[in-house]
């Protein structure tokens, strides 16, 4: 999916889908540590290993004690994960769609995120919450939202999202290693997108962004699926003579301030792109920090690009226009360079 890593000859590398990369991360983690558990609606093989097959094969391989299909009970799923984690297990709980996290908000926000602090450090909740979402799949207003800002706003939570197979594997492995609750956001419409096969045991540190393309005129910060829209905007930017430095944030909370600030202090311009609605979004937090730290060195106001402040629409032309596209990203970046 990332095509700019010229040192890696694409044809020679075996390709896997995002689903396969995530499945492999789960399988390798379960193989490496018998404390790792998987639970969620339909996740076991009698239920076909999940609605998209992400957990296919795991229960056959590791047993249904460790890979448990659950009732459609998001509070109970999260409670089971939290309770088991308090006693040293490492549950990876699937909340099928990110909109369904709303049903389990009490368990996630009031309990998973806070038990370490409220217990004075006596207990911890080392769980991973895997959840999928994204516009573009005709799933309408209750199956498509990006709610990363909700969880990034809660002290005690970590939030991560991958844009490619290598990072998906590496971030998920790091999330399972992590001593705290981590929300791992997957993109449903690009589950079947192919990318290089990850190396077994690969890790991507939580809190570390990646400068994917170096540039001098502006910094574009993004994550998850729309990061690939940023990459797709690069030819148009080249053509317009705009040299963009492109950062895949990968970790939304904590976010890699050092990498972003180092880049923007060089380019003087910053555009943040995400699929979630712009208002009160992750872009606002990044923009606030960039403007405070680099106020006198900015050549243009920090810009944010997200979805309009509306639920995800069903009708195809509306849905297509909802999230940032390569074309809109290119237009925005060019206008920032030109100062218009």
């Amino acid at each position: 999916m990332i095509k700019d890593e010229a040192e890696r000859p694409q044809q020679a590398v075996k390709q896997v889908s995002m689903i396969q990369a995530i499945n492999q991360a789960l399988a390798d983690a379960m193989e490496d540590d018998e404390k790792v558990l998987v639970l969620g609606e339909d996740v076991a093989d009698p239920e076909a290993g999940g609605v998209a097959g992400v957990t296919k094969g795991l229960s056959t391989r590791f047993g249904e004690e460790r890979v448990k299909s659950t009732p459609i009970s998001e509070q109970a799923i999260m409670g089971a994960a939290i309770g088991a984690s308090l006693l040293g297990w490492k549950p990876v709980a699937e909340i099928m769609l990110m909109n369904f996290t709303a049903v389990a908000m009490d368990m996630i926000v009031n309990h998973a995120a806070k038990l370490r602090f409220m217990s004075g450090g006596q207990t911890s909740v080392p769980i991973v919450i895997r959840t999928m979402t994204g516009s573009g799949f005709s799933t309408g207003g209750q199956h498509s939202d990006y709610y990363e800002a909700w969880f990034a706003h809660v002290a005690g939570m970590k939030v991560i999202a991958a844009s490619n197979t290598i990072d998906a594997y590496g971030l998920l492995r790091s999330a399972i290693d992590d001593p705290d609750p981590v929300m791992f956001i997957e993109n449903l419409p690009t589950y079947w997108a192919m990318g290089p096969v990850p190396d077994k045991g690969h890790r991507v540190s939580i809190g570390k962004a990646k400068v994917v393309r170096a540039g001098t005129d502006l910094t574009i910060v993004s994550y998850a699926r729309v990061f690939n829209e940023v990459l797709a905007a690069l030819p148009a930017l080249n053509e317009a003579g705009v040299s963009a430095e492109v950062i895949d944030l990968r970790s939304i909370s904590p976010w890699d301030q050092a990498t972003v600030l180092a880049s923007v202090s060089k380019t003087g311009r910053c555009l943040i792109v995400h699929e979630a609605v712009t208002q009160f979004g992750v872009g606002a937090e990044i923009a606030a920090v960039v403007q405070k730290e680099l106020f006198g060195r900015l050549k243009s106001p920090v810009e944010r690009m997200g979805a309009p402040f509306a639920p995800v629409p069903f009708s195809k032309p509306l849905e297509t226009a909802y999230a940032p596209t390569a074309k809109r990203i290119a237009q925005q970046a060019i206008s920032m360079k030109q100062g218009t």
Binding site: K68, P71, I82, G83, D178
Partner: protein, 326 residues
């Protein structure tokens, strides 16, 4: 119900000692708040002492407890030390949670006290997870979820009972039915004739028990604990009791029926059990008075310890939000 003769003297005295501790601790808590020495939200459990006292007589230290904001009695019965309790509710560094949890969020893993929640109903989903961990570890530990009658109307109750039944978890759901959910009387908020009936919908045993009768409560708990330990799955116990005070200390309890309340206080289960022990010759007045005097001294010590303990330093504000990578 198990006849009194089936409970040995030691167990009866042990249950009484716990009840006396809970009663004295509640009375002292209200006094200390009244005199302004500690400022905290306090949810009195006075009147409900029998339930955890008799239940915990069936539990081991390594069994797990998830309780709620009205749960200090549950934790004391499970073995929470008084000094750690008092320092915590005073917000001091020597508290169970360095003063950062407070009276609604005590944790004491050494006695299996894993979570105390301030959210109605949320003890149950997490107790399931503790039970799942025991099932995975193949130990024979039991997890107890405490909650009130109001909590049986929240979704978490229904999700939890169903999952526990499907997974056959070693969890006991203990409803302390004190007749009020916050300010609202049972009948005005709950459709079920009795909460125990709700177990039928999940194909698990549901039993209504007199939660003010130590022997009945002990017997019901013993059966439920035995089932859980043997891997036979969860039980719902509805323990009938009464809350002597308002929802939270200092509230205007005008919503409580005065005659009903007076009657309940008149029938104080603590005093009743004490009288029973004396009349049955299980203990003498001197023995019980001595037990009570020791408890008062222990509470004196704990309060003094708590008030002498320092407040946490400002570095604790952001400590324990995240852990360090192993």
């Amino acid at each position: 119900m198990v006849p009194e003769t089936q409970l040995d003297t030691k167990t009866q005295l042990s249950i009484y000692r716990t009840m006396a501790l809970l009663k004295a601790n509640d009375e002292r808590s209200r006094l200390v708040i009244k005199t302004g020495r500690i400022v905290m939200p306090y949810y009195s459990y006075r009147g409900q002492e029998v339930i955890p006292s008799a239940l915990c007589a069936n539990l081991r230290d390594d069994d797990y407890l998830c309780t709620i904001y009205r749960g200090i009695h549950d934790m004391l019965a499970k073995g929470l030390p008084l000094r750690a309790l008092w320092a915590e509710i005073a917000g001091r560094v020597d508290g169970t949670c360095k003063g950062k949890g407070g009276p609604m969020h005590l944790t004491y893993p050494a006695k299996g006290i894993m979570v105390t929640t301030g959210i109605v109903g949320s003890s149950m989903p997490i107790a399931n997870g503790l039970g799942w961990a025991s099932q995975l570890a193949k130990d024979d530990r039991v997890s107890v979820a405490m909650f009130g009658d109001g909590a049986s109307n929240i979704g978490a109750f229904h999700e939890s009972l169903n999952m526990a039944a499907v997974w056959k978890l070693p969890v006991i759901f203990v409803c302390q039915n004190n007749r009020y959910g916050e300010h609202t009387r049972y009948e005005r908020a709950t459709s079920a004739r009795q909460i125990a009936d709700r177990a039928v919908g999940y194909s698990i045993p549901g039993l209504r028990v007199d939660g003010n009768d130590p022997l009945a409560m002990y017997a019901a708990a013993k059966t439920a604990v035995g089932r859980a330990r043997a891997g036979e799955g969860p039980t719902l116990l509805e323990c009938m009791t009464y809350r002597f005070h308002g929802h939270v200390y200092g509230d205007n309890d005008s919503y409580m029926d005065k005659a009903e309340k007076a009657e309940a206080i008149q029938a104080d289960p603590h005093n009743r059990y004490r009288a029973q022990l004396l009349s049955a010759g299980v203990a003498t007045e001197t023995q019980l008075a001595e037990v009570e005097a020791i408890i008062e001294k222990e509470i004196d010590d704990a309060v003094n310890f708590a008030l002498a303990s320092p407040f946490p330093g400002m570095e604790e504000m952001t400590r324990d939000v995240y852990g360090a990578l192993a």
